[in-house]
């Protein structure tokens, strides 16, 4: 089985982002960037499938500016075999990313594509589902377990109210949820080895994809700030305040 793992470069999850003074977006200059945490889980799952002998090759793909090479290198250090950078400066919406990935998939013919369920910057939660639609493939989103079974794959999904299990035909799309696995840290030798692994660079035009955004961001604002309230001294006082001041119980 050949695996493709899209990885996105995002503002690190520890950074508290600030809205730009001119309300055009958030401050991303001089901010720590990392691989989207759900994509680390996707890479880890791919590497585990390979270690179990269920997969033969793992390709990590990232779309965005040249610096996305860093996130591809991270994936290579975790165990991916080679990388593809689709270089583009400017906004890439999930539909555009899905179209780019579809074009790469036409060349590479993977059996399984594992994406993160959501990128923690734009929080769209969309790319995997959109890619599945464009390819006419089945989708197993929010996966907490992935097992090759009966010539296809069995996916356990985190849904409202609990878990559900699906059997998907291959080729298929899976998106990762938090409980799928705990991603490894790349070891120093593997980081060194990753430097020698190949990364191919393509442009959207090479793939014949129009990536023009469909959404225009009119403004970005800070949400209303919550004021810290007061400390209460005892449980009695808390219950009294909830009953008589806030009137919520």
């Amino acid at each position: 089985m050949k695996l493709l793992v899209p990885v996105k470069r995002v503002v690190d999850y520890n950074v508290k982002v600030r809205v730009k003074a001119d309300h055009t977006g958030v401050e991303t200059a001089n901010v720590k960037m990392s691989m989207n945490p759900f994509d680390e889980i996707a890479v880890e799952e791919a590497v585990r499938l390979k270690e179990k002998g269920a997969a033969t090759e793992i390709i990590a793909v990232s779309a965005g500016p040249t610096a996305c090479q860093e996130q591809i290198r991270t994936a290579l250090a975790m165990g991916a075999d080679r990388g593809i950078l689709i270089e583009h400066d400017g906004i890439l919406e999930p539909l555009a990313v899905a179209k780019l990935l579809k074009a790469v998939i036409a060349k590479e013919s993977p059996d399984l594509v594992i994406l993160g369920k959501q990128a923690i910057d734009d929080d769209m939660n969309a790319t995997g589902q959109m890619l599945a639609a464009l390819l006419g493939w089945p989708q197993g989103t929010y996966a907490s377990k992935v097992e090759p079974a009966d010539g296809g794959i069995k996916v356990t999904r985190e849904v409202d109210g609990g878990l559900e299990r699906l059997q998907l035909k291959l080729p298929a799309i899976v998106t990762t949820d938090l409980r799928l696995n705990e991603p490894r840290y790349a070891s120093l030798p593997n980081i060194m080895k990753a430097r020698k692994k190949p990364i191919e660079t393509l442009k959207p035009a090479d793939l014949g994809v129009d990536v023009s955004p469909r959404l225009t961001v009119l403004k970005v604002e800070e949400p209303p700030k919550r004021q810290a309230g007061k400390k209460v001294g005892s449980v009695q006082e808390l219950v009294e305040k909830l009953r008589n001041e806030a009137k919520v119980i």
Partner: protein
């Protein structure tokens, strides 16, 4: 043009997040609700205030909410609607992006406001920023953040119920089974009061401390990611950026530090109470009432104080 809302239901009635989606849709046009399930759920949709029409089918193809046949059905219905919406539940988030791609439009996820027919407000970066986005697509496919829209009233409407069209089965996936917890407690995203426990609970057994206080308050039970990862609470209890978004009248955070990813899921609650032994915990910066103390001492006291009238 008419607007379509894909309903979630609990087996007998449409959910409160569905009624929030109806409220959002009402700002965009005449609302038709699509109900895939028992007739009683369709009847409940027909009574929701502001609903003009209900389309209904009990076709077993849709019983388990598989995205592939459902998206195919919605595509076949799409020509008649300017906007297609669903609550941003696990089901809605699964199918609507698939539908959008089949229509060659960019999905607009998790909207928190409707400015006009093309323009919507949506939280980004764990709710640390609100983006106002304008769509150039001819049709809009949208998921709705229930916590941001007061639900349309459950009673007051009298829409006609008609048969939904028949769709094809692409035959790509099969439903094997599910473990859905049945609970007497209110649903997390619809509850007026939520009591959540964090890593500090220490074990699944200790989590009962949260549950018994929740039961005293008629509340839903929530959890931080750390509590879910540790197995103290089931996955669908997770509140936060990558879990459920809640905005109850009262949110009580017990032994939760207040990481931005957690705050993203609950900071729009009307009243927030934090119980934490560390007076520096970030959760206190959003709490209306903070109590510094050991939860294992505080919570039993809290429960008995609640019992006093």
């Amino acid at each position: 043009m008419a607007v379509l809302v894909l309903a979630d239901h609990d087996g007998s009635a449409v959910t409160q997040p569905t009624r929030s989606a109806v409220a959002a849709a009402s700002k965009l046009g005449d609302v038709t609700v699509l109900v895939l399930g028992p007739r009683s759920a369709a009847d409940s949709a027909a009574k929701v205030a502001g609903v003009a029409k209900v389309l209904h089918t009990e076709d077993a193809l849709y019983t388990n909410g598989l995205a592939e046949p459902l998206a195919a059905l919605l595509v076949s219905m799409a020509p008649e609607y300017s906007h297609l919406l669903a609550p941003a539940s696990a089901a809605g988030k699964n199918v609507m992006p698939r539908l959008a791609a089949l229509l060659d439009v960019q999905v607009i996820s998790d909207i928190a406001g409707v400015v006009d027919a093309d323009t919507f407000v949506r939280p980004i970066y764990a709710g640390n920023a609100l983006a106002t986005v304008k769509s150039a697509d001819p049709k809009k496919v949208i998921t709705v953040r229930a916590a941001s829209f007061d639900p349309a009233a459950a009673e007051g409407g009298s829409a006609a119920v008609e048969a939904a069209p028949k769709g094809e089965d692409p035959g790509l996936s099969n439903f094997l089974g599910a473990e859905i917890a049945k609970s007497e407690r209110p649903e997390l995203t619809a509850a007026k009061v939520v009591v959540s426990g964090g890593r500090a609970m220490g074990s699944a057994e200790n989590f009962h401390i949260i549950e018994s206080v929740a039961d005293k308050l008629g509340a839903a039970v929530g959890a931080s990611r750390a509590a879910v990862d540790a197995g103290y609470a089931p996955n669908d209890h997770q509140v936060g950026q990558t879990g459920k978004i809640v905005a109850p009248d009262l949110y009580i955070a017990v032994g939760i530090s207040g990481a931005i990813q957690h705050l993203a899921g609950m900071k729009d609650s009307k009243v927030i109470v934090a119980i934490n032994k560390d007076e520096e915990a970030p959760i206190f910066s959003v709490a209306d009432y903070g109590l510094v103390g050991d939860l294992f001492k505080v919570m039993p006291e809290f429960e008995s104080e609640l019992a006093k009238k």
